[in-house]
Symmetry: C2
Subunit: 214 residues, 2 copies
Amino acid sequence: MMQADGAPHPIDFWFDFGSNYSYLSALRIDHLARQAGVAIRWQPFLLGPIFGSFGWATSPFVLQPKKGAHVWDDMRRQCAKYAFPWQRPSVFPRNAVLATRVALYGAREPWIADFVKAIMRANFARDEDISGEAKVIDMLHELALPAVAIVAECKNEANKPRLREQTERAMALGIFGAPTFFVGNEMYWGNDRLDDAIELASGKRVRLAASSRG
Amino acid sequence: MMQADGAPHPIDFWFDFGSNYSYLSALRIDHLARQAGVAIRWQPFLLGPIFGSFGWATSPFVLQPKKGAHVWDDMRRQCAKYAFPWQRPSVFPRNAVLATRVALYGAREPWIADFVKAIMRANFARDEDISGEAKVIDMLHELALPAVAIVAECKNEANKPRLREQTERAMALGIFGAPTFFVGNEMYWGNDRLDDAIELASGKRVRLAASSRG
């Protein structure tokens, strides 16, 4: 898919810090998008209220024990395949409201990819609690950012509606899980569809088809 | 994975004729398994009683409208990618008890792959009803098989417990959806994992690791 000026289309990456398949995509998307010349629009959101709207009190991986059992085998194998570190979180899904507010605040900043990966690795590679303010400040410090100021800004009452609006936007888009990708109006659900979404965004097929016509 | 004699391990292919992602795997597995030298054990079963055991009256693609909406977009794109014919079934999920009995009866016969693909194509490429006896007999006739005798055998009261036992076996194995693949004790859920399962069955990685040791 290309925009009117022939440039690749951006990809919207909707993710939740508690979602294990979002972890895989968070570690993969940066490299894939750069290779394809595709811009990433980082879209952190909360899956909890969406599950709540379906009448679910938590993740389907918890509510459906057989599916849950498969998920952890699958994650072990997928991480081995991608050579990503993996430790099954002892708390699942983890609450990360403050980290999500920070990611939303920094979504257009140059540090967003590193921040997202740092939080994801804490949760899924080192089984660390990611809900606390101290942890988020630590992560921002490690990226040499003004951690205390950023967290204060994100905790500001005036800023709080942003995350609620973002999650409402996810709901309105028909998002039901994470990760979810959008390229224009095409919605792709799951880490297994990241490559297809990037391919559509890059306009690779369109260009090949065009060039084959001489 | 290899067996004691060094041969590739077989792959168990658990599928349901009403399952759209089973359609994709049914059209792909024969070629992939042959290339890899892996034997397929065809395991037709009924997903309905398994969904029922979760308290679901039908497919989650029907019960969860947002997930359902994505599934049909995804199928359109996946079929385009694999160059498979695709027509969204006007009835979903389709009942195919008799066809499943026939597939179970013929699971070790040389015609099993062709029969499975014929039923799947009727459902997902031509939007045809696959529940009726006449349709199953037609399909068997097209494969030049003794259709009436096979169907009579499958409808025999003495034969009916086989499908119930097969579905109970699926439940005991922890199967919660289709397609599902087993290679030894490793369970893989979904068409997106077929390649990984075949790779494990073929012992490709194991052989590479072994040969690198000289």
